[in-house]
């Protein structure tokens, strides 16, 4: 039997011992352990394990002893070095710094309880801060991963008279801008799509972008294989070509280096692969894009200037300013307005830095988190300062002795600051470890809406932040006790053994102040998280307008030339629905283009028949849906007036719509809309008059917090789009039906992918992942700070009770009852808590307005939250004071009097 693994393992254990010890005895120790392992006596079951346990315990017990000896040894050697040696003179400042550091380490080791408490607090404070900063750094601060990212802008529509913006612009406007501007090095257009990739096992749905040929060059990216797009490939005539993302190339095509020139099948169309993007390249607008295709001008469905489907990225010419470029492009916009008054009225253009365009409203949320977590750091400082103050009282005598022996004030301050800085540094290192774990956790838990997620990491900026945070923290909490310590007069301190009236009053005041600040900060954080929690609860109780229980949704797109014939599409979906409805586990099945609670929408302009066009040119918009006759019944949306669609509402007959309640109320207030007619751009025919046959109840369209939108439902047969969301209500667990559904689609047409499969309840849960995430994080911070505040006020009162022990003893001896003693202590706590709560309420009043954009149906100054949380925190604070107060009542008067 070989003992080499055992030897290696023991060597690892030996690392715990000081190096000198290891070098001297290591090999003999190894032999000894191996001998023990070999020995007969251990050859019983578990014997070897017992040897390892004993050997491990032996080293664990001995390691601190040996390290301490090593340290003392080296100190002794240094002290005995000749003091006048030139080396010493040159290094005096360094020497004294080292001496301070060594002394600080020893002091900290002598008070393990204090050190552990301080380190734990600092680790949490600095760790939470650094973790949140990593996110802020990755998302907001780090430059975009493209060359010269500061010159990249998104170009958006801007309506000055309505102060509204639209990130989607007209394709035709883009063509004019691109041709007529001179201050841009390049401008590229971008459209979002999803396509089905077939020919490689199961059909797979992937996110693709249709881009104009300038796309890669504007971003400054060269393909690692192949070439970028050519101008000719934008229009008709050129074949369909695509550039693959690196992940798609690696996972989908086994990183085949000969991929260039190969053809792939996307949604039934054949594409030539012309390039592969670099591994670091991410689509700037949608991070999940796996493939970019050319043919921008022929793939757009828009033919008019008021049809918006294009996003524009531009790179500013070197030397051109944003103002100049904005002015230039708006001159063009004014010309277009004059040229096309019906479509471009009031349309201006704005340049948004690409980073802001990507980050969007995430900035507000992240800054809110960073603000909250800075408060936690502040709490940390206050808590450690408090701990240091308590310890400082115990050190009065030591400091007095050192002062009496001639230590200068500066030297003492430096000593104390060194101690604080060391604590801060150690806390910083531990905090950084916590932050690294925290970043991993945050990335795993972050809601899908967080952009640039993969760029979040602990990098140099984060390291620097942690370093600066811990240093500043150390100096801040270190400074507080320093001020008092050096104010102590050695004479008094020595005379009465540390119980000097002057310093302790002064110190008590500082401690009171710290406790007040802690309560105030904790209250601000608690109120913030309380508001978010209330808003979240409101959100979860919102009336959806439909019944989500036991509903499965899945999207199916019919693609390829086969389905260019609308009759085939209708046929496919109707047979799929008929088969689904025939299943025993299905109660009802219907289909809709874009089921509720999703960001996808289809917003079109419409006019009321007979109404004059509005004077300011502002149009009415509605979300347009295609539904099958069984949809409303399946998802349980009530029909308030009129009738449901039926099989008879087909292409050849008159065109009908059902509108929702909000739309009916807005446009026909107090009137019955059934029988009224609207003109709405439609497909396959443009601008046709449709008659309202029914009014359906309102539903939440884009999310739980959505306002009530105007919705127009059209019968699928009269609006045969290529994608539908199947909506299936089952009699049991809906998730189980997904597999059956896939099989049914596969039987009908094996080239079609079923995707976005989810139960309605999961969809709802996902839709609130974002607010839930921020609420939980803020609650976490609030809980930490509340604990710190409770510990803080507990510490202040315990200390003051200990200090006033004699006074209490005398009071009890003179006949004070415990209730009076209790009241005496609680009174102080009450005063501190009241001041802290008052300050906290004021602070929250000012600060919560920054939360208002995150709140749903809750005012940022919601009185129940403000006062409820304040009462809660006050009772926690008073609870924390109960222990020291009760202790005061148990003071033994005889003991104190004898001591006096």
């Amino acid at each position: 039997m070989t003992f080499e693994p055992a030897r290696t393992m023991y060597r690892i254990l030996l690392r715990l011992l000081p190096r000198a010890f290891r070098n001297k005895h290591g090999s003999e120790m190894e032999e000894m352990l191996l001998a023990a392992l070999r020995q007969e006596v251990w050859h019983r079951p578990g014997g070897r394990f017992a040897v390892w346990m004993r050997a491990g315990w032996d080293i664990a017990r001995r390691a601190p002893v040996e390290h301490r000896r090593q340290l003392l040894e080296s100190l002794r050697r240094r002290r005995t070095a000749p003091s006048g040696s030139p080396a010493r003179a040159t290094w005096r400042p360094v020497q004294s710094l080292l001496q301070d550091a060594r002394f600080a380490i020893r002091t900290l080791c002598r008070n393990p309880g204090f050190t552990a408490a301080a380190l734990l607090t600092l680790t949490i404070g600095i760790g939470a801060n650094t973790a949140i900063f990593s996110v802020v750094n990755g998302v907001l601060l780090r430059p975009l991963p493209y060359p010269e990212p500061d010159r990249l802008f998104g170009i958006i529509r801007f309506y000055p008279d309505r102060s509204a913006t639209n990130t989607v612009v007209s394709r035709l406007d883009f063509i004019d801008w691109n041709e007529q501007t001179h201050l841009f090095a390049g401008m590229a257009a971008w459209m979002e799509r999803t396509s089905t990739l077939t020919g490689r096992g199961d059909p797979e749905r992937i996110a693709v972008a249709i881009v104009s040929h300038e796309f890669l060059s504007v971003l400054g990216v060269q393909p690692i294989l192949g070439r970028p797009f050519h101008e000719a490939e934008d229009g008709a005539g050129a074949g369909r070509v695509a550039v693959l993302s690196h992940p798609l190339w690696v996972q989908g095509f086994a990183a085949n280096p000969d991929i260039i020139g190969e053809s792939i099948t996307l949604s039934g169309q054949s594409y030539n692969v012309i390039g592969v993007a670099p591994a670091s390249f991410r689509d700037p607008l949608v991070p999940g894009v796996q493939l970019w295709e050319a043919g921008f001008h022929i793939r757009s469905r828009c033919t008019a200037r008021d049809c918006l489907d294009t996003r524009v990225i531009a790179r500013l010419e070197r030397g051109a300013s944003v103002q100049q470029a904005t002015m230039e492009i708006n001159l063009i916009a004014e010309n277009l307005e004059a040229q096309y008054p019906s479509h471009n009225k009031g349309v201006r253009v704005a340049l948004v830095p690409l980073r802001d365009r990507i980050v969007g409203d995430m900035r507000v949320k992240l800054i809110m988190l960073l603000g909250a977590v800075s408060f936690v750091l502040l709490m940390t400082c206050a808590n450690v300062a408090n701990l240091l103050l308590a310890k400082a009282a115990a050190r009065d005598t030591e400091i007095a002795v050192r002062t009496a022996l001639g230590a200068s004030r500066g030297r003492l301050v430096r000593q104390l600051l060194t101690e604080a800085a060391l604590l801060g540094l150690a806390g910083g290192i531990l905090g950084l470890i916590l932050a690294t774990l925290g970043v991993v956790a945050l990335k795993a838990l972050a809601p899908g809406g967080l952009p640039r997620l993969e760029e979040i990491s602990v990098d140099r900026a984060v390291l620097a932040y942690a370093g600066v945070a811990s240093l500043i923290t150390g100096l801040v909490f270190g400074a507080v006790p320093t001020l008092h310590l050096t104010g102590a007069r050695p004479g008094t301190a020595l005379k009465d053994g540390g119980r000097t009236a002057h310093t302790s009053t002064h110190r008590a005041l500082t401690r009171d102040l710290l406790a007040v600040v802690q309560i105030a900060i904790a209250l601000v954080l608690l109120i913030g998280s309380g508001l978010l929690a209330k808003s979240f609860a409101r959100l979860m109780r919102v009336d959806l307008g439909f019944d989500p229980t036991n509903v499965l949704t899945a999207r199916v797109s019919v693609e390829g030339s086969h389905y260019d014939d609308f009759a085939r599409r209708i046929d496919f979906f109707e047979s799929l629905l008929a088969e689904t409805n025939a299943r025993p586990e299905v109660q009802s099945a219907g289909a809709i283009l874009f089921h509720p609670i999703q960001q996808h929408d289809n917003i079109w302009a419409f006019e009321l028949e007979g109404a004059a066009p509005s004077a300011d040119g502002v149009k009415n918009y509605a979300s347009v849906r295609a539904v099958t006759p069984t949809y409303f019944r399946t998802i349980d949306i009530p029909l308030l007036r009129g009738r449901d669609f039926s099989e008879r509402d087909h292409d050849a007959g008159p065109l009908f719509v059902i509108i929702n309640e909000s739309m009916a109320r807005t446009f026909w207030p107090g009137d019955d809309p059934v029988g009224k007619r609207i003109r709405i751009r439609s497909f396959p025919n443009n601008h046709l008059v449709r008659e309202v046959v029914g009014v359906a109840g309102d539903v939440k369209v884009q999310g739980l917090d959505d306002r009530n939108r105007h919705v127009v439902y059209m019968p699928y047969r009269q609006f045969p789009v290529s994608s539908l969301d199947l909506v299936v209500r089952t009699s049991s667990e809906p998730g189980l039906f997904a597999r059956t559904l896939r099989e049914m689609v596969n039987t009908l047409d094996p080239t079609l992918a079923v995707y976005q499969v989810s139960t309605m309840e999961d969809t709802i849960t996902r839709s609130v992942a974002d607010p839930r995430f921020y609420m939980l994080l803020l609650t976490c911070f609030a809980a930490i700070s509340m604990t710190l505040a409770a510990v803080g006020i507990y510490g202040v009162l315990s200390y003051s009770v200990a200090e006033r022990n004699t006074e209490m003893g005398i009071r009890i001896a003179l006949g004070a009852r415990s209730r009076e003693i209790l009241a005496l202590v609680l009174q102080r706590a009450l005063v501190l808590t009241t001041i802290g709560v008052g300050l906290g309420l004021g602070g929250a009043w000012v600060l919560t307005r920054f939360l208002s954009s995150q709140l749903y149906q809750v005012q940022p100054t919601d009185p129940p939250v403000f006062f409820g949380v304040a009462a809660f925190l006050a009772s926690i604070a008073l609870l924390a004071t109960y222990v020291p107060a009760a202790r005061a009542t148990r003071v033994d008067p005889m003991a104190t009097l004898r001591y006096e």
Binding site: H25, E28, M29
Partner: protein
């Protein structure tokens, strides 16, 4: 350091000194000797053994042989040999006397016989 401040000796020090009383030994031999001295009751584990040996050297109770010389059993050259010093013998003797006196006192009170007079 005055001799008395070392007394009473820590048990493992006492046994190491005792093991070295009749000749120089290396670490492993000390472990075996202590095992037989105590009838297997005390097993010295490596870190404790060498930590103690270092301290004993520091206190001047034992000394390390200057170099691996012609050691008796002709074993590996890596091993360090230790020998008890005069001072070590004195401290050992003093502690042994202390223990003997204690044992005597116990015996006088019949504590060792196992019966407790009431």
């Amino acid at each position: 350091m005055p001799r008395d401040s070392l007394l009473p000796l820590k048990p493992q020090w006492f046994h190491i000194l005792l093991a070295l009383a009749d000749g120089e030994r290396h670490g492993f031999a000390i472990v075996r000797e202590v095992l037989s001295q105590t009838a297997g009751a005390l097993r010295l584990w490596p870190a404790t053994l060498y930590g103690s040996l270092d301290r004993l050297v520091q206190e001047g109770l034992i000394e390390e042989l200057a170099k691996p010389y012609d050691h008796p059993e002709g074993e590996s050259e890596r091993r360090r040999y230790y020998r008890i010093t005069q001072r070590g013998r004195e401290v050992l003797a003093a502690d042994a006397e202390r223990l003997a006196a204690l044992a005597e006192a116990a015996r006088a009170k019949s504590a060792l016989s196992g019966s407790h007079p009431r």
